[in-house]
């Protein structure tokens, strides 16, 4: 108050008046607090807000099924006669074996009671689902280039329990597409990431060309 009075009462002079407000250090501290808060929010809080955990309808045991089928992944995820890929099996395909509860697993019991007997398709969470403007064909990758399923989908085939599924609240797609690491650095946590640049990088590596736009965006 007095400084203020002093300042105003003094005859204006050319001498610089000393800063009487917050000091530079304080201002810097606020900057750092803001900066730090942003980093914390962006790297820790934001992913938790952006993604929500979605429970699996059935905790599917791939390892168990792999022991029982004859043709590995192809037994249930197969190529149709026209070369298109079947993706997740439909209820009809599951029903070939699971007309009734066969084992003691509560998951199987749930599957039979809630889906098979009620003739309802299982709303599986699809980890690798891509937006509609992406045209992806399994045939040239699996049949043409001889890639393993695990090369893109991770070792889900040997898992006894499904890995967690997180859904992007804005887009509705799986967190696996961007990757679980927000920085997209380092080895992916579960399976290779599936953004466009991931496709491009692999294509450049394997074929020396990233291909043309219309190959995937028809």
């Amino acid at each position: 108050m007095s400084t203020q009075t002093d300042n105003t009462s003094n005859t204006p002079s050319n001498a610089p008046s000393p800063k009487k407000g917050a000091t530079g250090w304080v201002i810097l501290a606020f900057f750092v607090i803001g900066f730090g808060f942003s980093l914390l929010g962006g790297w820790v809080g934001f992913p938790n807000m952006l993604y929500k955990e979605v429970p699996h309808p059935i905790d599917f045991n791939h390892a168990l099924h792999m022991d029982l089928v004859f043709d590995g992944c192809n037994s249930c995820h197969y190529f149709r006669a026209d070369g298109s890929f079947s993706g997740a099996p439909t209820l009809n395909e599951c029903r070939d074996c699971h007309q009734f509860v066969m084992g003691t697993d509560p998951n199987e019991e749930k599957f039979v009671e809630e889906y098979v007997l009620q003739d309802k398709e299982v709303p599986w969470n699809i980890f690798a689902k891509q937006p509609d403007n992406v045209y992806f064909s399994h045939a040239p990758h699996v049949k043409g280039a001889g890639m393993d399923c695990a090369a893109c989908h991770g070792d889900i085939g040997t898992s006894e329990s499904l890995r967690p599924y997180q859904e992007n609240r804005i887009t509705g797609y799986s967190r696996d597409i961007w990757g679980w690491e927000m920085s997209r650095l380092g080895e992916p946590k579960y399976a290779p990431r599936m953004k466009m640049m991931d496709c491009v990088n692999c294509h450049v590596e394997q074929t020396d060309s990233k291909g043309s736009c219309f190959q995937c965006h028809k």
């Binding site: 000091t23 304080v26 606020f30 900057f31 929010g41 962006g42 934001f46 149709r80 993706g87």
Partner: protein, 759 residues
């Protein structure tokens, strides 16, 4: 420590700088981009196993085989069926776009009863039971009042099992008034009756094998007739084959033809006679056929000793010079056309079916048939083919007294009466009859409409609309809310053709005896029913001999019975060819002497002299007076505009050029010379007036239109269906006017007089 404004600014700065180093802005931007691709209204195709199902398109009479790509119960894509004998893989844009009708908003989703004013489009949904009992109640009352003969049925076709069920219903009910909508078939049927003695047989042209096609105004590549068949036949054209197009306008067909001959409209018959003249004069005709299987080529003497003029004497006067004066074509061009035609290996002359406006000119049609007879190309590969439909295994109709009396009464459209004894259906005359009658004497008290949209397609359509609106009770069987359904009291919606069974008879103009089966590809989307089932139900609820005439459990049972042993092939292959080879010449003609009649002795003619029976050229005046209408309006067909009962789906409308339809304004085509005289420039708005009505249009200058002619695309200007279809352009039928052939009553006008004035 002081905290002031600057601290908060600094905090904000820290937040701002910091968040740039986090994924927030980049990830959110990316995610929002993806989010915008997933609007709830963006259609996302089904995923799942793909199946292809074969069926037949029934949106026009072309009968193209199609295959439909389906995923689960969703039809995704239609393509031409490459192993179908009609179209062999070719398909028109309407066929490709027909899924838009399956899933689009113009479907009638349940049975409906009119609640508002007639034509207001206000309906309420009712149940099938209610709808059928209301229709049968009304029909029962009409019958009990002794007016059974005032029930009429307008159908897009008289072939196939559903039209047969309707004819049967009228027979059992007691009405003679089954009316087929006008088409190129009318004139061909009469010509086939006069020259070959056939009743109700199909006349087709084997365009696939012909080496020289002389087309008198057929829009072979303009989507008229059987488009898939015609497109495919043309796609197989090689260097040795020729198409010559006679037409007043440079159409798609004319542009792709080897030669385009713009004869004055209405003079095509004279050109045919001119070609015949050159062929006869130079002895280029098929002597075997003429000497062995034809009658009336030379002059002949009847039983009474009177000498009659033969075809040869008739064409003698049609020298190239005379024909040149009539048609406006060069005499040398006529001469060389005739020589090329006659010398070709398999020449065929075609007219009628595939014209945009089938002017039922009997003389022209007889003259064109005669050209085919001259070169001996009847019932030969690459020629004009005559064949019968398969016979349905159906028991006789049971008729009570009312039915017998009713069916013997004269028809409301005057066909088959003393005035027009050789005509079968004259829908064009009906509006005038209805307009002239008062409410009590109205010769049609109840109307059923199936597979047709006469309120739109009848020429002078506004009068037709007013005339039909006088009918006290109208039942529509349309799948779509078309102009006629909008006028109806009850709508009993049929399935879309991808939802039910239906046999598809041999398409008009196709030289093959093919019957196809349209089979369901997806489950019915709405509460619709096969019209065949509905008519059986109505008959049954009327009871008595009417019910007894319809003993089948349902339509599918009837269909199976009707085709007997053919049904297995029909359902397995989707089609059956029921006559492999046409009849040879010695058995081909059903005339009194078993020969092809160049002189049609049985012709019901306006005059009694030979020339009125022979296909002489007669100048036809078109409706309207010359003083007010110095121009002539002709409609034209475009492959990108559906011009029949079904309107253009929006997919097709998107493909129309901006000089044909821009926003809601339609463009007419006129020659720059015509435009100069009228002081009109490209893009000007003008008013076109005809005796039937007037319309605002825009002007497109086109050198390919003959001076004095105004060409307008057919198929636009709908007022019903849906907001995506209605109110685009002008309905040319609202401007055209029929003009009855004096002896046959069929509409013989090729156009209408019109005036054009700058607006």
């Amino acid at each position: 420590m002081k905290i002031d404004r600057r601290c908060f600014l600094s905090l904000a700065g820290g937040l701002a700088v910091g968040h740039l180093l986090t994924p927030i802005p980049w990830k959110i931007t990316d995610d929002i981009a993806i989010w915008t691709q997933n609007w709830p209204w963006t259609p996302v195709p089904e995923t799942g196993p793909v199946t292809w199902k074969n069926t037949v398109c029934t949106l026009c009479a072309g009968g193209c085989g199609i295959k439909v790509r389906t995923i689960r119960d969703r039809a995704i894509k239609i393509e031409g069926r490459t192993d179908h004998p009609v179209n062999k893989g070719s398909l028109c844009p309407l066929g490709y776009a027909s899924l838009q009708y399956l899933y689009g908003p113009s479907r009638v989703k349940t049975p409906m009863r009119r609640t508002g004013e007639r034509g207001s489009g206000q309906f309420e949904a009712i149940s099938w039971d209610e709808a059928i009992s209301e229709v049968s109640g009304k029909l029962d009352a009409l019958r009990k009042n002794g007016r059974a003969h005032t029930l009429a049925c307008i159908s897009g076709s008289d072939k196939g099992t559903v039209p047969v069920l309707f004819k049967r219903f009228l027979d059992a009910y007691g009405s003679p008034n089954f009316i087929r909508t006008p088409s190129g078939r009318d004139a061909h049927e009469i010509a086939a009756y006069l020259a070959q003695g056939h009743k109700d047989k199909n006349i087709g042209f084997d365009l696939e094998n012909a080496t020289f096609i002389l087309s008198f105004g057929c829009g072979l590549l303009d989507g008229s007739g059987a488009p898939g068949y015609q497109f495919n036949a043309y796609s197989r054209f090689d260097k040795g084959r020729t198409l010559v197009q006679v037409e007043p306008r440079l159409s798609n067909t004319a542009a792709r033809a080897k030669k385009w001959l713009p004869a004055k409209p209405g003079t095509e018959g004279a050109l045919a006679l001119g070609v015949a003249h050159v062929i006869v004069k130079n002895g280029l005709y098929d002597a075997d056929f003429i000497n062995g299987y034809a009658f009336g080529f030379e002059d002949w003497t009847d039983e009474g000793g009177n000498i009659h003029m033969g075809f040869k004497s008739l064409v003698n006067e049609y020298t190239p010079q005379k024909v040149s004066a009539i048609t406006g074509l060069d005499a040398n061009a006529i001469e060389s056309l005739a020589r090329d035609f006659a010398r070709a290996e398999k020449p065929v002359a075609v007219c009628g079916y595939n014209e945009c406006k089938p002017s039922a000119n009997i003389d022209k049609t007889l003259a064109v048939h005669a050209l085919n007879a001259l070169v001996g190309n009847i019932n030969q590969a690459g020629g004009m083919i005559v064949f019968a439909d398969p016979e349905y295994a159906v028991s006789e109709v049971r008729k009570d007294r009312i039915a017998t009396e009713g069916t013997a009464k004269p028809r409301a459209d005057m066909a088959g009466t003393d005035r027009y004894p050789q005509s079968r259906y004259l829908l064009d005359l009906l509006p005038e009859v209805l307009m002239g009658a008062n409410e009590n004497n109205l010769p049609v008290q109840a109307l059923m409409v199936t597979g047709a949209n006469p309120v739109y397609t009848t020429e002078n359509s506004e009068t037709a609309r007013a005339a039909f609106a006088k009918i006290p009770f109208i039942v529509s069987f349309s799948s779509f809310m078309d102009e006629t359904a909008k006028l109806a009291d009850i709508i009993l919606p049929d399935h879309h053709f991808l939802e039910g069974y239906r046999d598809v008879p041999a398409p008009d103009g196709v030289g093959k005896a093919v019957t196809s089966l349209s089979a369901p590809v997806v489950k019915p989307q709405y509460d619709t029913r096969n019209t065949g089932d509905v008519i059986i139900d109505i008959a049954r609820s009327l009871g008595g001999t009417i019910g007894e005439s319809f003993p089948w459990k349902d339509y599918d049972t009837f269909l199976k019975q009707a085709f007997k042993e053919h049904y297995r092939d029909l359902s397995r292959n989707g089609y059956v060819i029921h006559a492999e080879k046409p009849l040879p010449w010695d058995r081909a003609f059903a005339t009194e002497n078993g020969k092809y009649a160049f002189y049609p002795t049985r012709r019901h003619a306006a005059g009694t002299d030979d020339k009125s029976r022979l296909p002489a050229y007669r100048e036809l005046d078109i409706p309207g007076d010359k003083a007010n209408g110095t121009l002539a309006l002709i409609p034209y067909k475009s492959p990108r505009i559906a011009a029949g009962a079904v309107a253009n789906p929006p997919f097709m409308t998107k493909t129309i050029d901006a000089n044909v339809l821009k926003k809601e304004m339609l463009f007419i085509q006129i020659n720059p010379e015509t435009a100069r005289g009228l002081n009109l420039r490209q893009g000007d708005t003008a008013v076109i007036r005809t005796p039937a009505g007037e319309a605002r249009v825009r002007v497109n200058l086109f050198d390919g239109v003959m001076p004095g002619i105004v060409a307008m695309p057919a198929g636009l200007g709908h007022t019903a269906f849906s907001k995506f279809i209605a109110d685009k352009g002008v309905n040319v039928n609202a401007l055209l006017k029929p003009s009855a052939d004096p002896a046959y009553g069929l509409n013989a006008a090729w156009g209408v007089r019109a005036s054009l004035q700058k607006a």
